[in-house]
Symmetry: C2
């Protein structure tokens, strides 16, 4: 492909972005409202302001760059998130935010030059607050509050492990106001795939038509403290043994639905976590995900049968503390069709894909018609410092996003 006029500028900006919170191993550490995240947000603010966008922070700390072309009209919201996991890749989220900014810059220039007809809607670039959820739970916090799925009060009260609340972490950097954000007309987001399907099929653009179903559970395994040396094995009520059996069972379930059900335990905390004390309490987050709701239901039933067996085998009780479940949910088909036309017009290869991971657009699609796009990710590595997407795919993604946003701004999905 030919490199578009602003490609070099985009890649230079992306390289600058990747320095914020750089780990030294090619990755980044920019947990929500951390010093590195704050530094990057302020850099991004200056970038947007240098192009005349009006930068504002809303009530949950989403960073907005508003381009008002049609006074009083609602906004096409386009963006992603710049926060990251503790040792993360530099593309996840960050690519989508910078792509949104550069799409806005290009459209702004074309509208001003009159080379593209005036739009029906305004444009809002957004850097959603705390998509990752590693420091403050739940994930996708900024878009959840914006779309009314999570109460503002509840979100602001959440604390990290050091006891710092979302409210005070945001206020420390001046990232919060009373404003609820702009009125949205449509939404678009672009992201690296976090999977191998585009790379495998040598396709440049993924058109996300729906997300996998997921059942996310917080389990607390309750046992009883005892001395690790002296307590008789048959007397023990070892919460860590019960929790470990759950982790093993989760994998066994995935293995019995090969390629169809994904399971994981990413977080597990032991109390009192002392070398010489049998643990009395272990909490863990266990997820089951599938594109096949029937398979997911079967996997879920199998999990609960095994939980009951583990309670007996390990002499513990297993409490299900929270459950967060969602079905396979489609993005609006007309958005997928619009994207297919846009890709074809640009001469980019494309195919429909599903997303296994959650995205801010997953929230937004329940509020307004939303387009979600993927670019390929080498070996599908994600949440890993070695995450990598080729420059040419990044540039194609910016081209594609620009075209989609132009069409949404023109009201192509109205009516």
């Amino acid at each position: 492909m030919s490199i578009a006029p602003n490609a070099e500028e985009f890649l230079a900006d992306f390289q600058t972005m990747s320095q914020f919170g750089a780990t030294g191993n090619g990755g980044v550490d920019r947990q929500a409202a951390s010093p590195a995240d704050a530094e990057q947000r302020l850099w991004f603010r200056k970038l947007l302001e240098s192009r005349g966008l009006d930068v504002r922070y809303d009530q949950i700390g989403n960073e907005w760059g508003l381009l008002e072309v049609v006074p009083g009209a609602p906004y096409v919201v386009v963006g992603s998130h710049m926060d990251s996991q503790p040792t993360a890749g530099k593309y996840d989220g960050a690519f989508g935010v910078l792509a949104a900014a550069h799409a806005a810059f290009r459209l702004q220039a074309e509208w001003e030059a009159g080379t593209r007809p005036d739009p029906t809607y305004n444009l809002a670039v957004v850097n959603w607050f705390n998509e990752e959820g590693s420091r403050f739970k739940p994930s996708m916090m900024g878009s959840s509050v914006f779309t009314g799925k999570l109460s503002l009060d509840e979100a602001l009260k959440v604390s990290d492990v050091k006891g710092i609340s979302v409210r005070s972490a945001l206020d420390e950097h001046g990232f919060r106001s009373d404003w609820q954000g702009p009125k949205a007309a449509y939404c678009a987001e672009i992201h690296v795939e976090q999977g191998r399907s585009l790379e495998r099929d040598d396709v440049t653009i993924g058109l996300v038509h729906s997300n996998w179903a997921a059942n996310k559970y917080e389990f607390v395994v309750h046992g009883e403290q005892a001395h690790t040396g002296s307590a008789l094995i048959e007397d023990r009520r070892d919460a860590l043994l019960g929790a470990s059996m759950l982790v093993v069972v989760a994998r066994e379930i995935a293995n019995s639905f090969p390629g169809v059900v994904h399971t994981s335990v990413g977080q597990l905390d032991v109390y009192p976590n002392s070398p010489v004390v049998v643990p009395s309490r272990v909490s863990l987050l266990l997820d089951l995900r599938s594109a096949d709701e029937t398979a997911l239901a079967e996997a879920d039933a199998r999990l609960y049968r095994r939980v009951a067996e583990i309670e007996a085998e390990a002499n513990v009780t297993v409490e299900r503390k929270t459950a967060h479940t969602w079905p396979v949910m489609p993005y609006q088909p007309e958005g997928v069709q619009l994207s297919a036309k846009a890709a074809a017009g640009l001469g980019l290869s494309y195919k429909p894909v599903m997303t296994l991971a959650g995205h801010d657009s997953t929230n937004m699609k329940d509020l307004v018609k939303t387009v979600m796009l993927f670019v390929p990710s080498v070996e599908g590595l994600s949440h890993n410092e070695a995450e990598y997407t080729k420059d040419e795919d990044l540039i194609s993604g910016v081209e594609m996003l620009t075209e989609v946003v132009a069409r949404l701004s023109n009201g192509e999905l109205d009516g």
Copy 2:
């Protein structure tokens, strides 16, 4: 049994002690050099000083109460530890320290009154620093430095999870000097059993003749970060899965040597421990213990065979970071014989027992002849807020310890 003259006083002091760091559920939280531990140490200092003992802190923060009766002679060291696990019983360690103090008070009074012949040795009551090892690792830190098994520099450098070093934690309370502690002639310690054998056999005093052998390992399971949703199951290198399989295997090994081998994992830490990231690194402490060294060796070999299998099954590598192993080690038989005579003289029932748990006396017995005594523990509950020993057994223990210390002070094991 008849209540000895100072029984009421002992029980009142013990009740006072149990208020320091009280959890409200009958237990205590007095981690080493924490505010509660410091408060209790200062109270104990005043108690010792009120009876004329000379209180000093040595180079690793052991709290000594010196009773010099024979100028220049070495000391019979008697004591235990007052620090505790985060949610612990109130008897573990604390009983032995207070029993040592009251034994010293009684002997002091009898020596002064001339009702007991003057001793050959002086008496040192000791409250060893950081026996539990929950805040600062390793456990038995104070007695390990005193007996030269752990270097002072290494111990002072150890930090807790907040980054506070042993050195600064001790200095905060003025618990440290350049002094190396008194010269020891003999040692005695009394402790609750942390097992059921005395209760089961309705015996009041356990004479510890040896400790169980133990192999303690720190394993680090290495995997690779990935997205918990999107990463294909067959691509995953899930460190938490490998670690969980190790926890389950440890229990399977114990089950195949019923009553003979005890295994445990008390501590396990996950990185990055985020809901949406496949863990890349999990460290855990795995112990195997047995009174039967052959069984322990077989269990150990089985563990390492399974480690190799887990590496293949979970697609991880398992690194053995540290190993701390010890064989079955006897306490000096002449000390056990002396204790048997003492118990018989007092009309207390007794029997030889082993200890599964480590004690400061386990260190001391390699320096000087050492007597270790147990009193019964109801249901053997240990490292548990419900830990309980009857008052009458506590009092019998003080009587027994007093008699043993009197005999050691008289030089009954000399020559």
